[in-house]
């Protein structure tokens, strides 16, 4: 697996100009509103880590990759580990950034959990169907949720009011930490599902 990690870091470095540009935008946008920077930077890094899958699959590349001494489940595990590492780096970066402006560390944790949940949802599709379909799933989920919330808020305001009042009674630290733990657990389950899904994948 070490070879795969080295490969994915090298592949991501190929996009370093794009990454630096995104970080720049994130910092500028985040001067007033740190949660924008956090959300933006974490999402960008999460999606970039998925782009290594499309590099792998281009030009029948999987045939060569799987002549390396790795199994299908090694490949899947490495993708999850790599995405986690990249998201972790983004999280550290954003936390340091947050020290310079008044911030909610809790907010950062919640956004980290969201990034992990997004990855957990889209990685199985990316691995099964390839990059294009996986990205479509990602967008559908994000926009779908946004519209769903907006819709519910419009027509059933009481739904959100009651959730808000419940959330206000919770201890914010407990809430964000338990959300994070839940998203790690779901991330792990997503990996188990992906391993099973990838077993049936035809390597070409």
């Amino acid at each position: 697996m070490k070879g795969l990690l080295v490969k994915d870091f090298l592949l991501m470095m190929k996009s370093k100009k794009v990454i630096l540009f995104m970080l720049f935008i994130g910092i500028i946008g985040g001067i007033n509103d740190i949660s924008f920077a956090t959300g933006y930077i974490l999402m960008v890094l999460a999606i970039l880590s998925l782009s290594t899958i499309s590099y792998d699959e281009a030009n029948h590349g999987l045939k060569t990759l799987f002549t390396l001494p790795i199994s299908k489940s090694d490949y899947v595990k490495e993708k999850y580990l790599f995405s986690l590492m990249i998201t972790g780096i983004g999280f550290v970066f954003v936390t340091i950034l947050g020290c310079f402006s008044k911030s909610g560390f809790m907010e950062t944790l919640i956004i980290l959990s969201t990034a992990l949940l997004l990855l957990a949802l889209s990685l199985p599709f990316q691995l099964k169907e390839g990059n294009e379909k996986g990205r479509i799933v990602l967008f559908v989920v994000v926009f779908g949720c946004t519209f769903l919330f907006a819709f519910l808020n419009q027509f059933i305001p009481k739904f959100f009011e009651s959730i808000e009042s419940v959330l206000n009674t919770l201890d914010p630290i407990m809430f964000s930490v338990s959300l994070l733990i839940t998203s790690f657990v779901l991330y792990f389950f997503s990996m188990m599902i992906s391993i099973r899904v990838y077993k049936n994948r035809v390597l070409d």
Binding site: G3, V6, A58, L62
Partner: protein, 259 residues
């Protein structure tokens, strides 16, 4: 080893043995099942019994003709990946081969020519000092000079690693005649011929009724393929007897009428 795999319109069913210290040729047209056989051997696909072949990939070097590492990477980066992937990757041999073939380690692969890329893939496979090498059409798309360099590379490798088994698949048969010890001919998923000594095969031209054709295998028009060259040389001095090359064998075994 037995390979069985059924697709919608194609069935592969053949037996093939790779022997140590032997270069084996797998010769067949496009679509005859060569790549499927490779994939089955490596455990990349499962066979009809839902069984995946378990091989130790640390000890196998593979060259595909349509696949390589990601083209945005350069050779130095690929070398790092290989060093971390294989326990027995030979960096010194790799570097020596790169400079021998004048391959630029800093250029990304997408800027390599077809010939350079093929040479690189073989250098990667041989740097593993693997016990088995599988080469899927390693010389396709190469000019004459590059082809000879590649074949020389393989000969040198066999001399230095005597216990290795090499399986080369190709439809350019002329490369393989001087190189290989054993020949498998594959057509539509079946092995139609397996021979070690091709010297005894010949084409008989201008055979009339006086010629004993019991040793003729196939015919196209009035030319016959036989595997008993010596018999005809000794008994019919006036008969035109030509050496049968691999291309001839393919043609006659596939398209010839059985005698």
């Amino acid at each position: 080893m037995r390979f069985v795999k059924t697709y919608n319109d194609f069935k592969l069913d053949c037996k093939l043995e790779l022997k140590p210290g032997t270069i084996t040729a797998l010769i067949g047209c496009n679509g005859s099942g060569k790549t499927t056989l490779f994939k089955l051997y490596l455990g990349l696909i499962e066979d009809d019994d839902k069984h995946t072949n378990q091989v130790n990939k640390e000890e196998i070097g593979v060259v595909w003709n349509d696949s390589s590492f990601s083209l945005v990477l350069n050779v130095l980066e690929i070398k790092k990946i290989l060093m971390y992937s294989y326990k027995h990757f030979d960096c010194d041999y790799f570097d020596f081969m790169l400079s021998r073939f004048e391959l630029d380690p800093k250029k990304p692969l997408k800027e390599y020519s077809t010939g350079m890329l093929s040479k690189l893939k073989i250098i990667i496979a041989t740097s593993l000092h693997a016990k088995t090498l599988l080469l899927d059409e390693p010389t396709s798309g190469l000019d004459v000079i590059a082809r000879n360099e590649v074949l020389d590379l393989l000969r040198d490798y066999m001399e230095q690693n005597e216990e290795t088994s090499i399986l080369i698949s190709s439809h350019i048969a002329s490369d393989l005649e001087g190189l290989c010890d054993e020949f498998y001919f594959i057509e539509k998923g079946k092995i139609i011929l397996c021979e070690q000594d091709l010297e005894s095969y010949a084409l008989l031209k201008g055979a009339d009724e006086t010629v004993d054709l019991s040793y003729a295998l196939k015919k196209i028009g009035m030319t016959y393929l036989t595997n008993e060259r010596q018999f005809y040389v000794e008994n019919y001095p006036n008969l035109v007897i030509e050496k049968a090359h691999i291309d001839d064998l393919m043609e006659y075994m596939i398209k010839g009428e059985t005698v």
